[in-house]
Amino acid sequence: MKNDTIRFKRQPKIIGSYSIVGPKEGQGNFKDYFDYIMKNDLFGEKTFEKAERKMIETAITGAIQKSKLGMKDINLLVAGDLLNQIISSSYAARAFNFPYLGVYGACSTMAESIAVASTLVDGGYFENVVCCTASHFSTAERQYRFPLELGNQRPPVSQWTVTGAGSCVLSQKGKGPRVTMATFGKVIDWGVVDVNNMGAAMAPKMAIIGP
C-alpha cells in the first residue's frame, strides 16, 4: 500500500441496489433511474425524522430483495446519515436481524460505507454486506441551518440537501459491478466558514486527492 488507495484482491460485487427519493428529486433529470419516488416528504409518517428512518428501511429491504438473497444471508449492515448520533440509520437498524456498523462521512457516507464494507468482504470476514445512506432536506435543514418556515433568502451558492436513501448489497459471489479500489480520505480544511457554500469547502479535497 503505497498511498491511501487500497486494491481489493477478491473484488466484492454489487449484486443489488435500491434508491428512494423525495418528490423534488423525482422531478429531476434522473427520475427514471430511481426505484421509488415518494409522493410527499413525510412518507406516511408523523415527522420528517421518522420518514427518513422509513426511507432507510425501505432502501435496505429493497436492495436485499433485488439481490435475490434472503434476510438471513446478510451478515452486516454498514450505514450512516446526516443526523446527530446517525440516529436514522441506528433506528432503522432495529428492524433488521443482522449486526450494524454506523459510519459518518456527511456527503461521502455512501462511498465510505461501500469502502468499509468492501474491505470487510474482501478480507473474507463477511460474505454479504448491505451498505446504506440517507438524507432528508427537512431534517438536515433544521439541524444545520434554519427552520423551514423562516422567511430568509438563500444565497446563490447555497446547496439543497437531497431527500433520498440509497442502498446496495456487496457480496463475495454473484454478478454485478465490482469494487476494485478504495481511497479513504483525509480531512482537508481550507478555512471556508460560510455554511451556505459547501462546494467551496469541499473543492480543495478533490484537488489534493484527485479523481
Partner: protein
C-alpha cells in the same frame, strides 16, 4: 505556504468566483414589499382609530402591532410567509412581521418534539439575541436617563 495565508488566499479566490446576489432587483423587491407592510400597518392603525374613536393614539399603535404580529404568525403557520420572505428578503425581516415569523417558524418546526421541549424551548432560537439585546439596551438607556435626570 503558511496555513493561514493559504486559507486567506483560497477564500479570496472563492469570493472572486462565487455568483453574487444581484443587488438592484433584490433591493427593489425588498423596498416595495417592506413599504407595503408599513402601508398595511398604517391602514390598520387608521381603521382602529376610525372604528373606535375612544382609543388613544398610543394604544392604537399597540393594537396595530398585535394585529401585524398575528397576521405574520398566521401566514407562517399556513406556509405562506417563507415564500414572501424568499422573494422580499429584508423587506419582510425588518418590520415586526419578520420578528413574528422568526418566533413562529421554530415553534412550527419543533412542534414534533413536544410542547415544553419542542415549542417552548426552541421558540427563541432565532429571536433570542434580539430579545436579549433589546432588554439589555433598554435597561442601559433607562440607567442613562436616570443619571441625567439626577443632574438636570
Amino acid at each position: 505556504m503558511d496555513i493561514k495565508e493559504r486559507n486567506k488566499a483560497y477564500n479570496k479566490y472563492v469570493n472572486a468566483k462565487i455568483p453574487k446576489t444581484r443587488p438592484w432587483p433584490t433591493l427593489f423587491n425588498s423596498f416595495w414589499v417592506g413599504g407595503l407592510i408599513c402601508l398595511i400597518g398604517q391602514g390598520i392603525n387608521d381603521l382602529i382609530l376610525y372604528l373606535f374613536p375612544n382609543v388613544s393614539e398610543s394604544s392604537a399603535w399597540a393594537y396595530t402591532l398585535i394585529v401585524l404580529i398575528f397576521l405574520a404568525s398566521l401566514l407562517t403557520g399556513i406556509g405562506v410567509y417563507d415564500k414572501i420572505g424568499r422573494f422580499a428578503g429584508g423587506g419582510t425581516i425588518v418590520p415586526i412581521t419578520g420578528f413574528s415569523n422568526s418566533i413562529t417558524s421554530p415553534s412550527v418546526e419543533f412542534k414534533s418534539e413536544g410542547i415544553i421541549y419542542g415549542i417552548c424551548v426552541k421558540m427563541f432560537t432565532i429571536a433570542g439575541p434580539v430579545i436579549v439585546f433589546g432588554v439589555l439596551s433598554s435597561a442601559l438607556v433607562g440607567l442613562i436617563y436616570y443619571i441625567i435626570y439626577l443632574f438636570v
